[in-house]
C-alpha cells in the first residue's frame, strides 16, 4: 500500500508572540516544527505500514527551509519525501495550496492520503478536504481512529458530542486529529539515514502539466487576508476584598448563580 502524508512546517506557537504594533505574528527566532495534527497523521501511516507493509511518502509545500521538517519525517521512519517549492507557489491560499499538492499527489500516486486536520498557524482545516475534492476521491475529516480492512479504511470521525464510524474504499483522503495517535520520536539512526536520503524537490516546471498557473500562488488565490489582528483581551475581573471566608463563599455563589453557571 502506498500512503502519502501531507505535512506543514509551522512556527511553534508555544513560543510565538504578536507584534503589539502590527498585530502580526513575530516569526523571527521562533523554532519551526511539524504541525501537530500532521505528525499524528504520519504516525498513523507508519503504524499502518508496520502492520500491512507498503511505503510512506511525505509531501510538504513550503520554502526551501521546510527541508528540515521532511528530514524529521524521514528520521521518524518515512521512506521518502517530496518538497514542493517554487516562487510561483508563494502566497497561495488554501485553494491554491490544495491545487499544487493535488497535482503533486497525482504524479506520486497513492492508495491513501493522510493530512492533518488543520495547521496551528492558519486553523482553516480546508486544505485536506480541498485536496480530496481536486483529486475526486472520498474524504473523511477529523479522524480520531483509523484502521485498514481489505481495500477500505474504517475511520472514526470525531464530533463534539458524538462520533461517526465510516468505512471508505481506497483510494481516499483522511484528515487526522492529533488525538489519532501519539507520534514517535525520531531515532538517532533514523536521523543518520534521513540525511543520506535525497529529497525530491518539485517546482512549477515539474508539475506544469497538471497546473494552471492562473489558479496558484498569490494571484491565483480566490481569498486574500484582509487584515490580521490580536484578539481583544478580556476586561479585568471584579475584585472583592475585605470579606470573611463565609462572605467570600456567599459572594462567589451569588456570581455563579447570576451567570447561570450553577
Amino acid at each position: 500500500m502506498k500512503i502519502v502524508v501531507c505535512i506543514k512546517q509551522v512556527p511553534d506557537t508555544a513560543e510565538v508572540k504578536l507584534d503589539p504594533r502590527t498585530g502580526t505574528l513575530i516569526r523571527e527566532g521562533v523554532p519551526s516544527i511539524i504541525n501537530h495534527d500532521d505528525k499524528a497523521g504520519l504516525e498513523a501511516a507508519l503504524r499502518l505500514r508496520e502492520q500491512f507493509g507498503g511505503t510512506v511518502t511525505v509531501v510538504c509545500m513550503g520554502p526551501p527551509q521546510a527541508d528540515i521538517a521532511l528530514r524529521e519525517a524521514l528520521a521518524m521512519g518515512a521512506d521518502d519525501a517530496c518538497l514542493l517549492s517554487a516562487r510561483e507557489f508563494g502566497g497561495s491560499d488554501t485553494y491554491a495550496t490544495a491545487t499544487v499538492i493535488a497535482a503533486a499527489l497525482k504524479k506520486i500516486g497513492f492508495d491513501l492520503v493522510i493530512t492533518g486536520r488543520q495547521a496551528i498557524d492558519g486553523d482553516t482545516a480546508q486544505v485536506g478536504p480541498q485536496i480530496a475534492e481536486q483529486l475526486h476521491i472520498p474524504q473523511v475529516s477529523y479522524a480520531e481512529e483509523l484502521r485498514l480492512e481489505g481495500d477500505s479504511v474504517i475511520v472514526r470521525r470525531q464530533f463534539e458530542d458524538q462520533a461517526h464510524l465510516l468505512k471508505v474504499k481506497l483510494p481516499c483522503l483522511v484528515t487526522a486529529l492529533s488525538e489519532l495517535c501519539e507520534a514517535r520520536y525520531m531515532s538517532t539512526y533514523g536521523i543518520v539515514d534521513a540525511y543520506k536520503k535525497e529529497i525530491t524537490v518539485w517546482g512549477f516546471e515539474d508539475l506544469k502539466n497538471d497546473l494552471n498557473p492562473a489558479w496558484i500562488g498569490l494571484k491565483g488565490s480566490p481569498t486574500h487576508v484582509f487584515q490580521s489582528f490580536g484578539k481583544q483581551a478580556k476586561a479585568a475581573g471584579t475584585r472583592m476584598t475585605g470579606l470573611s471566608a463565609d462572605e467570600a463563599v456567599a459572594a462567589i455563589m451569588d456570581k455563579l448563580i447570576e451567570r447561570h453557571i450553577i
Binding site: I68, T188, Y189, Y195
Partner: protein, 382 residues
C-alpha cells in the same frame, strides 16, 4: 575551523533535547529519591537508539559520531545526570572495548545486542584497593583447560544492577606489573553461575544510576570471551577511559547548563527589593561568568570529540575537557543554589540534586588529580 554544528547534529540535538524534556525531566526527581532507574525509561533510550550512537551500523549502532554522542550526553544530563552516566558507561566504557578490541565474531555476538537496544553493558575495573592505582587489583583469572576461572570483586560497577554484560578486568599474570598482567573478559552478568551483584551502593549523587559491587566466585569464562590479547587489559581499560572522559566532560557541561538555566528561570520570577533578582547587576555578571565558563567547557569537549572522530591522539584533550568541565559543573551548581537561596537548597527545585550530582564528575573515570597526571604526562615536562 567551523564552530557551527551541522544540520545532522542540530537535528540530533533537537531529538535529545525534546526527549530529555518530555521523557526524562518528569522522572528525574522521583528516580533520585527512589535510588532506582526507571526500566521503562531505559527501554525508551534503547528503542530510540541512545545506546549505540557513535558506532557503526554494521554492528547495530546508529552510525553517528562522537560529537553526536556528546550532544546526547549534554542534553540528557541537563535534566538528569544519572541518565547521562547510564548511557556513558554503556557506550564509552563497555562498548568501546568490544568495538576496539573485539574480533569480528565477538562484535557480532556481544557488541550487536548492546548497540541495537537489546542489552545493557557495564565495566568492571575498580576494586576496593585499586582505584586510581590499578596496581592494587586482586581479581584474578586462571586457566582451566581452555577456559578461565575468575575470582574477585569489583566495586562501583555502574549499570551492574540491570546490565546484561560486563567487561571485567582480571590479573592473569602476577609475575609482571598490572600494566602487563591484566586481561579483559566479556562476562554475562545475568546467567553466569558465581556472579553476584550487590544492592545499589548508597551515594551522595547520581542516585538513580545503578552502581553495585559485583563479586566473581569461580566464574567460568569460555575462551571466546577473552577480549583482546591476554595481558593487554590495562591498555584496553585506559583506552576506554580516554573515550569515557569525553562523555563525562559532556555530562558535566550538561549539569552546569541545566543548573544555570534553572537559576535564570527562577531569577526572572523571584522578586526581592522590589524587582526580579535577574535585574541586579551582580546576578547578571555572575550569570555571564558562568555561561562563559560553560561555553569554554563545551568547546573543549567538542574538540576532544572531533579529535576522536578524526582518529587523532585525543587522550590528553579528553582529560583537559573533563578536568575543566567537571570543575565548571561544580562551580555553576554552587552558584545556582546560592542564586536561588533557600529554595535552591530545597528538594522542590532540581539544583540541589544537580549540585550533589556534579561532584562525581571530578571523581569517576579518573579523578581531577589523575586528569592532571594524564595532561602533564603529555607535556614532555621531564
Amino acid at each position: 575551523m567551523d564552530f557551527h554544528l551541522s544540520k545532522t547534529h542540530l537535528l540530533q540535538q533537537q531529538l535529545f533535547r525534546t526527549f530529555a524534556e518530555t521523557e526524562i525531566r518528569p522522572l528525574a526527581k522521583e528516580m533520585d529519591e527512589n535510588e532506582a532507574y526507571d526500566p521503562a525509561l531505559l527501554a525508551k533510550l534503547q528503542k530510540y537508539g541512545f545506546l549505540g550512537i557513535p558506532y557503526s551500523r554494521e554492528y547495530g549502532g546508529a552510525g553517528a559520531d562522537t560529537l553526536t554522542y556528546t550532544l546526547c550526553m549534554e542534553e540528557v544530563s541537563k535534566v538528569d545526570a544519572s541518565t547521562g552516566i547510564t548511557i556513558s558507561v554503556h557506550t564509552s566504557l563497555c562498548c568501546s572495548c568490544i568495538n576496539n578490541y573485539g574480533t569480528e565474531e565477538q562484535k557480532q555476538k556481544f557488541l550487536r545486542p548492546l548497540l541495537d537496544g537489546r542489552q545493557v553493558g557495564s565495566f568492571g575495573l575498580t576494586e576496593t584497593n585499586a582505584g586510581s592505582d590499578v596496581q592494587g587489583a586482586q581479581t584474578v583469572a586462571v586457566r582451566d583447560g581452555d577456559d578461565w576461572i575468575i575470582n574477585g570483586s569489583k566495586i562501583f560497577t555502574t549499570n551492574s544492577g540491570f546490565a546484561d554484560v560486563c567487561v571485567v578486568f582480571a590479573i592473569t599474570d602476577r609475575t609482571v606489573p598490572a600494566a602487563k598482567g591484566l586481561t579483559a573478559f566479556i562476562v554475562d552478568l545475568k546467567n553466569t553461575p558465581g556472579v553476584t551483584v550487590s544492592e545499589n551502593i548508597e551515594r551522595m549523587g547520581i542516585r538513580a544510576a545503578s552502581n553495585c559491587i559485583v563479586t566473581y566466585d569461580h566464574v567460568r569464562v569460555t575462551p571466546d570471551r577473552v577480549l583482546g590479547p591476554v595481558g593487554r587489559g590495562f591498555k584496553i581499560a585506559m583506552g576506554a577511559l580516554d573515550c569515557g572522559r569525553i562523555g563525562i566532560a559532556a555530562q558535566a557541561v550538561g549539569i552546569a547548563q541545566g543548573a544555570l538555566n534553572e537559576a535564570i528561570k527562577y531569577g526572572k520570577e523571584r522578586k526581592q527589593f522590589g524587582k526580579p533578582i535577574n535585574s541586579f547587576q551582580n546576578t547578571q555578571f555572575k550569570m555571564a561568568e558562568m555561561q562563559t565558563k560553560i561555553d569554554a567547557a563545551r568547546l573543549m569537549t567538542w574538540r576532544a570529540a572531533l579529535a576522536e572522530d578524526n582518529h587523532e591522539n585525543f587522550g590528553p584533550l579528553a582529560a583537559m575537557a573533563k578536568l575543566f568541565a567537571s570543575d565548571v559543573a561544580n562551580e555553576v551548581c554552587r552558584f545556582a543554589v546560592q542564586a536561588m537561596g533557600g529554595y535552591g537548597y530545597c528538594r522542590e527545585y532540581p539544583v540541589e540534586r544537580m549540585l550533589r550530582d556534579a561532584k562525581i564528575t571530578e571523581i569517576y573515570e579518573g579523578t581531577s588529580e589523575v586528569m592532571k597526571m594524564v595532561i602533564s604526562g603529555s607535556m614532555k615536562l621531564k
